[in-house]
């Protein structure tokens, strides 16, 4: 009975979260589209159009919430307005698209920036190559889309991390993190309920060990986050050391007391730390490759948009 109640509560919570997520995605997509079609127009027009769209979205969401509409309905309306206005957006920006190769290269460089490889990136690229090779040698039945996913996910993350000064990038990155956390939490809760793990005493011991092993890593992530570093640790080193000693000591003491064996906790901590370092290294590695790919992509897309703009101008001249 308790599991049924928990499952019902969980279902309601997940439904609400997905409605909010739908609204977040719809708003983000609209802002990303506004950024995209205004990227080539003059600065004053670009800023004005983006600001108007942002204001419009805010007004619409507030108005519809006051009228009692659910978040998923609001998301539907927002996406509908964006889609219905796509053609007019392209027509509005068409006269401002760069028409010469020199202009396109200049605009592309402004957006992507100059690629500067570093020794760390080169070393991480070599490590990535070794990982792909070992992956291929151990299991050759992996589907092609898994290869593509594994080797493109990190470039996307790197691109987002390197462009966090842009608001839409921060929002997209936050959406990605939110999705990942929501998925993990949902799967964990489902597994606990489906397999009745809460009835197994070893489950609670494992959960405690995992939390203890992760706590020093959480401190490390907090130190790496500028907001936490500035507001909690006041940019000083000794609060970090004190916090780490306290958290690490408490983690070890509790782990040994509960598990009776220091080796389990140590093993989980080392594995977590290695995973974190490896992830960070892979994230940094793809920065160079992502910039090259994005620059080429912008050149190709600018060419396609120029062709579309030429067609639109001819159509308007013939009226």
């Amino acid at each position: 009975m308790i599991s049924s109640l928990l499952a019902a509560m969980l279902a309601g919570l997940v439904e609400s979260l997905f409605c909010l997520l739908a609204l977040y995605v719809a708003r983000s997509l609209t802002l990303v589209w506004a950024w995209t079609y205004t990227v080539a127009v003059p600065e004053h027009l670009r800023a004005a159009r983006r600001a108007e769209i942002r204001s419009d979205l805010h007004e619409q969401i507030n108005q519809m919430r006051q009228e009692g509409d659910r978040s998923n309905i609001i998301a539907f309306h927002i996406l509908g307005r964006m889609i219905w206005g796509l053609w007019d957006d392209v027509r509005w920006s068409a006269p401002y698209l760069p028409s010469t190769l020199a202009e396109r290269l200049s605009r592309g460089s402004e957006i992507v920036g100059k690629a500067r490889p570093s020794p760390l990136m080169v070393a991480s690229l070599a490590m990535l190559g070794i990982m792909n090779l070992s992956f291929y040698m151990t299991d050759r039945t992996v589907p092609w889309f898994e290869w593509v996913y594994l080797n493109t996910m990190m470039p996307v993350v790197v691109l987002l991390l390197k462009n966090q000064q842009r608001q839409w990038v921060r929002r997209l990155f936050q959406l990605w993190v939110f999705l990942a956390i929501a998925l993990v939490v949902t799967l964990m809760l489902w597994a606990v309920l489906e397999f009745r793990l809460y009835q197994m005493p070893q489950f609670y011991e494992f959960l405690l060990q995992a939390m203890l092993a992760a706590s020093p890593m959480i401190v490390a992530i907090g130190v790496a986050t500028k907001t936490v570093r500035t507001h909690v640790f006041r940019d000083k080193w000794w609060p970090v050391v004190v916090t780490w000693v306290i958290v690490g000591g408490a983690s070890v003491a509790t782990g040994v007391t509960v598990g009776g064996n220091f080796a389990i906790l140590l093993g989980m901590t080392v594995e977590t730390a290695l995973l974190l370092v490896l992830t960070l290294g892979l994230v940094v590695t793809f920065g160079f490759g992502v910039k090259v790919i994005c620059y080429a992509g912008i050149r190709v897309s600018a060419g396609c948009m120029r062709l579309a703009a030429t067609g639109i101008r001819r159509l308007e001249r013939s009226t």
Partner: protein, 129 residues
Amino acid sequence: MLTKPQISAHNAYMRRKSGQLIPIEQSILVAAVRLRGQGIEEFHGFGIAKEIRDREGARLLTGHGTLYRALGRLEEQGFLIGRWEDPLVAAEENRPRRKLYKFTGAEVPLLGDSSTRPARLQLLRETAP
């Protein structure tokens, strides 16, 4: 009754003729005049879209691209005056800044099929200051 699509007045997808307004631009001006009749001199993009939807009984608001492109053209042609509101006002209300538009009262050349033109003319006469 003439129903040939070659005649532009009977073609819903007619192209713009120089100096004339397309239906969305007419709708914006009619809605602006209606709002002025209600004492609302200035309006923002979402506000006029909502007024157009309520007046025409549509389900969805006008698309972003369509709406703001039309507002921009009306501003260029002198039918509307646009200004950005004071940033302090927006900051106090914790929302993004609005761009506010105001109808200048200029003479409006109408473009529409024969069934809608009299209604639009009548509406402008009723709501004119």
